[in-house]
C-alpha cells in the first residue's frame, strides 16, 4: 500500500537534500586539492585554449623527460575556447581563487595581466637561469616579460619569411631569390592580372603592418612600454603596404570573413585558385599552404625578407603562446618542471615539432636532425636552418599594458581607413597616439 508523504516528512527530505547539495557545493568550491585522485599523488591543473597544444603537452607527459621524475603526477588539462579561457583566467585571478596552477596565455591577451601594480603570475627569471642563453628571447620570453620580470615561456619561434610560387616566377623569367622589395614589386607587375595578384593585404588585422614595421626596424612600444608606433619607420611600413595595393597594384585586399580576420576558408580558397601567389608570414601562417593547398606541393619556395623598407631586417615575428604559472598555484616548482620539460628540453620541443611542425625557441634543439629535414612542399627548403639563422636578427618584442588597446586602435583607426578608404598613413598613425594616451 502506498503511504502518503506528510508535509513534515517532505520538509525533512527537502531540507536534507538542500543541505546535502550545499555541502557538495561547498566541497566543490574548496579549490584544488594538493592530492591527486588516487594514492595521494601530486596533481597540477593547466588551462589551455587549443586542443593541439593540449595534445603536445599530453605527449610530453608520456615522454621520458617527464615520466623519469614526475610520472606519478596527475596533470589535469582543461581546454576552453580562446576568449573564454583568457576571460576565465582573468576573472579567477582577480577574484583570488579558482585559477589553475599554470595556463597558456596568447601573446595578444597578456597585456591585461600587467595592468595595475600586481602581476598575477610567478616570475620565472631565477628558474630559467642560464638557460636564457639557449632561448631566442624575442619569441620565447619577451612577449611575457614586463619590467624585467619574465612571466611566461613560449615555444613557438614565429620567424616570418617571404614565400612565393617559384614555378610562376620561373615561367615569367623572374630571377629569384629577391634581394630588394623593388624586385618583388617588379615581379608582381609582371605576373599580376585582373584575376591574379602577388599578395593579399589585410584591412582588418594589424599583422601585415606589424611584420613590416619590424622588418623596417621598429615595433609598437619602446622598452618602457610607451607607444612609438607613429615613428617614421612605422609610417614607411604602412605606406609600403598601401602602395602594394593602390600604387603598384600588385596586391588586393585579403578576402577574409567577419569571424576570422586573418585566414578564413575563403582566404585559403583564394590561394587554391591562384588568386595570390606570394605571402609573407610566420610558420603557422605558411602551414595553411600544405594543409589547404596540397596540390601546389613543390611549387612554393621561401626566402628571408628582402631589403628596402626601413632598416631592412630580414625577418619579423608574429604570434605566440606562453605558459605562465599563476600566483595562486601552491606547487609553482612542480608547475615550472612542466614548463621546463615542454620548452627547455629537446625531447619536449620535438614533440611539438612532430605534432604541429612548430619550430622551437629553444636553440639547442636545432642540432637534432629532425629539425633540419628539407620540406617537400617548399622546394626542399630546410626551415630549421633558415629559421635558426634568422632568429638572432629578430627585433626585441616590447610588451606594454596597452598592447591590446593599441593594436585594436591601429586596426580601427589606421589599417582599415588606410587600406579601405585610402586615408593618409602618417596622419592615421599619429592619431593613434592621442587615442591611446587619451584612453
Amino acid at each position: 500500500m502506498r503511504r502518503r508523504l506528510s508535509r513534515r516528512e517532505f520538509l525533512k527530505v527537502a531540507g536534507a537534500g538542500v543541505a546535502g547539495a550545499a555541502l557538495l557545493g561547498t566541497a566543490g568550491c574548496g579549490g584544488q586539492g594538493d592530492e591527486g585522485q588516487e594514492g595521494g599523488a601530486e596533481s597540477l591543473e593547466m588551462w589551455l585554449f587549443s586542443e593541439e597544444r593540449a595534445e603536445w603537452i599530453r605527449q610530453v607527459l608520456q615522454s621520458e623527460v617527464w615520466t623519469s621524475e614526475h610520472g606519478d603526477v596527475e596533470v589535469n588539462l582543461r581546454v576552453f575556447p580562446y576568449e573564454q579561457m583568457h576571460d576565465r583566467l582573468q576573472t579567477a585571478l582577480v577574484s583570488g581563487r579558482g585559477a589553475p596552477d599554470l595556463a597558456d596565455v596568447e601573446i595578444s591577451r597578456f597585456s591585461p595581466f600587467i595592468r595595475g601594480d600586481q602581476v598575477p603570475f610567478v616570475p620565472l627569471n631565477d628558474r630559467i637561469g642560464d638557460e636564457i642563453d639557449n632561448v631566442y628571447t624575442p619569441a620565447g620570453t619577451d612577449p611575457w616579460t614586463w619590467e624585467g620580470q619574465i612571466y611566461g615561456l613560449g615555444n613557438e619561434l614565429n620567424t616570418c619569411v617571404l614565400a612565393y610560387r617559384q614555378d610562376i616566377m620561373e615561367d615569367a623569367g623572374i630571377q629569384t631569390p629577391f634581394e630588394t622589395w623593388d624586385q618583388v614589386i617588379e615581379a608582381g607587375r609582371e605576373i599580376s592580372t585582373a584575376d591574379r595578384k602577388m599578395f593579399a593585404i589585410h584591412d582588418e588585422a594589424f599583422g601585415d603592418h606589424y611584420m613590416m614595421s619590424q622588418s623596417a626596424g621598429t615595433t609598437y612600444f619602446d622598452e618602457q612600454g610607451n607607444y612609438i608606433g607613429d615613428n617614421e619607420l612605422s609610417i614607411e611600413a604602412m605606406q609600403f603596404l598601401y602602395d602594394l595595393v593602390y600604387e603598384h597594384e600588385i596586391a588586393d585586399i585579403a578576402p577574409v570573413a567577419g569571424d576570422d580576420q586573418w585566414y578564413p576558408p575563403n582566404y585559403r580558397a583564394a590561394f587554391r585558385a591562384e588568386r595570390f601567389v606570394a605571402v609573407f608570414g610566420p610558420p603557422w601562417h605558411l602551414a595553411m599552404l600544405p594543409l589547404d593547398v596540397p596540390d601546389q606541393s613543390g611549387l612554393w619556395t621561401v626566402q628571408e625578407f628582402p631589403q628596402g623598407v626601413g632598416e631592412g631586417i630580414p625577418t619579423a615575428q608574429f604570434g605566440g603562446t606562453g605558459q605562465c604559472i599563476t600566483v595562486q598555484s601552491e606547487k609553482p616548482d612542480l608547475a615550472w618542471e612542466l614548463i621546463r620539460a615542454c620548452n627547455l628540453t629537446t625531447e619536449g620541443v620535438l614533440e611539438d615539432f612532430k605534432l604541429r611542425t612548430v619550430y622551437p625557441t629553444y636553440s639547442p634543439a636545432y642540432e637534432d636532425p629532425a629539425l633540419q629535414e628539407p620540406s617537400d612542399y617548399f622546394a626542399d627548403t630546410r626551415f630549421g636552418e633558415l629559421y635558426s639563422s634568422l632568429a638572432p636578427q629578430l627585433v626585441p618584442f616590447n610588451q606594454s599594458p596597452q598592447w591590446a588597446e593599441a593594436t585594436e586602435t591601429i586596426i580601427r583607426d589606421v589599417i582599415t581607413p588606410v587600406m579601405q578608404d585610402r586615408a593618409d598613413a602618417a596622419e592615421a598613425l599619429r592619431q593613434v597616439r592621442s587615442a591611446i594616451e587619451g584612453g
Binding site: 503511504r3 502518503r4 506528510s6 513534515r8 520538509l11 538542500v18 576568449e83 583568457h86 576571460d87 582573468q90 585571478l93 582577480v94 591577451r109 591585461p112 595581466f113 600587467i114 595592468r115 595595475g116 601594480d117 600586481q118 602581476v119 598575477p120 584591412d203 582588418e204 585586399i253 578576402p255 570573413a257 567577419g258 569571424d259 580576420q261 575563403n266 580558397a269 583564394a270 599594458p401 591590446a404 588597446e405 585594436e408 586596426i411 580601427r412 583607426d413 582599415t416 581607413p417 579601405q420 578608404d421
Partner: protein, 319 residues
C-alpha cells in the same frame, strides 16, 4: 498513516497540559501557512541573490572605482560616468546601438505585423499553410546565433557570397557587405530582422487571434473596407501587443552582442560596435572593470528610461 498520526500526536504534546507545549512548535503551527510559501521560494531567491543581485550591486560599487588590471581599486566617484560622456568609442557604440534599436522598432516590428496580418488574412486561406508559415518564421529564432552568423558570413562574402553573386548576375557591382564601414551596420540589421521577425510575428498573431471576429464583421456590415478595418479596428485593439513588442525590442536591442560580435567583431572601424561589445572589450580585453561597470549601468539606465517613456506615451494615448 496510523503510526504517523500517533507520533505526531505525541510530538505535539498529547497528554501534556497545553501550557507545557514547546513555544517554537506552537509558533510554527500558528504561522506555517504564512511562511511555507517563502520557504519554497527561498532556494530561488538564494541563487538569485548570490548570482544576480550581489554581482549587480557589486558592479554598481565598482563603477565608482578606477579598477584596471590587478591593482588595488581607487575610488574616483563619478569619474567613470563623466568619462563616458567624453569617450568617442562609447558615443559611437551608443549611436550604433540606437540605430539598431530604431530599426527594430520602425522596420522589424512593422514587417512582423504585416507578416502576421498576412498569415491571418485571406491571402493564406488554408490552416496547414498558416502552420507552415508560423513554423518557418519561428525557425530562425530557435537557430543558434553562431550558426546564423556563420551562414550570413557566407551569404555576405564579397567574392563568393550569395548576395554579391546575385548583384553580379544583374549587372551591379559587388559590395563589401560586412567589410565596408558604411554597409556593415545595415547588414547586421538585415540579419537581425531575418532572425527576430518570426518571433515578433507570433506575438502579433497571438494578439490578432484575441480580436473577436464579430468586430471585423460589424465593421464590414458598416461598409468599412479591409484597409479601414485594419486601421480603425485591428490596429487600436493591438495596442497592448504593439507596446509589448516595442518595449522588448528596445530592451533587447540595447543588449545586442552576439550577432555583431560573431559577424564583424564590432568592426570595421567600430561601424558595428555596440554598447555590449564595448562593455566586453573594456571589461575583458582591456580589463578595466570599473569603466566596464559604468558602461553596464549606463546601458541599463538607457533601456529603463526608454521603456518608461514608451509606457508613459502609451498611457497618454490610451486616454
Amino acid at each position: 498513516m496510523y503510526r504517523e498520526e500517533t507520533q505526531a500526536t505525541q510530538e505535539h504534546g498529547a497528554g501534556k497540559p497545553p501550557g507545557e507545549r514547546r513555544p517554537t512548535a506552537g509558533w510554527w503551527r500558528r504561522n506555517q501557512r504564512a511562511y511555507t510559501p517563502y520557504l519554497f521560494l527561498l532556494p530561488f531567491f538564494s541563487i538569485y541573490c548570490v548570482f544576480m543581485l550581489y554581482p549587480i550591486l557589486d558592479a554598481l560599487r565598482l563603477s565608482f572605482f578606477e579598477a584596471g588590471g590587478f591593482g588595488t581599486p581607487e575610488f574616483i566617484g563619478l569619474g567613470n560616468y563623466r568619462q563616458l560622456l567624453e569617450d568617442p568609442r562609447y558615443l559611437k557604440a551608443l549611436e550604433n546601438t540606437t540605430i539598431y534599436t530604431l530599426a527594430s522598432i520602425f522596420i522589424l516590428s512593422p514587417i512582423a505585423l504585416i507578416l502576421a496580418v498576412t498569415i491571418r488574412s485571406f491571402v493564406v486561406p488554408w490552416a496547414t499553410f498558416k502552420s507552415f508559415y508560423r513554423l518557418t518564421f519561428f525557425l530562425p529564432f530557435i537557430t543558434s546565433l553562431v550558426v546564423v552568423a556563420l551562414m550570413f558570413n557566407v551569404v555576405f562574402d564579397p567574392n563568393y557570397g550569395l548576395l554579391n553573386a546575385f548583384l553580379t548576375s544583374i549587372g551591379l557591382p559587388q559590395l563589401g557587405w560586412l567589410r565596408s564601414p558604411d554597409l556593415a551596420l545595415p547588414s547586421v540589421i538585415m540579419v537581425g530582422i531575418w532572425t527576430y521577425v518570426g518571433i515578433n510575428s507570433l506575438y502579433f498573431l497571438a494578439g490578432l487571434q484575441n480580436i473577436p471576429d464579430e468586430l471585423h464583421e460589424a465593421a464590414a456590415v458598416d461598409g468599412a473596407g479591409r484597409v479601414k478595418t485594419f486601421f480603425y479596428v485591428t490596429l487600436p485593439l493591438l495596442k497592448p501587443v504593439i507596446l509589448f513588442v516595442v518595449v522588448q525590442a528596445t530592451i533587447f536591442s540595447y543588449q545586442l552582442f552576439e550577432l555583431p560580435f560573431l559577424l564583424t567583431g564590432g568592426g570595421p572601424s567600430d561601424a558595428t560596435l555596440t554598447l555590449a561589445i564595448y562593455l566586453y572589450e573594456t571589461g575583458f580585453r582591456q580589463f578595466d572593470r570599473g569603466y566596464a561597470s559604468a558602461i553596464g549601468y549606463s546601458m541599463a539606465l538607457i533601456a529603463i528610461a526608454i521603456a518608461a517613456t514608451q509606457l508613459y506615451l502609451y498611457r497618454r494615448l490610451e486616454r
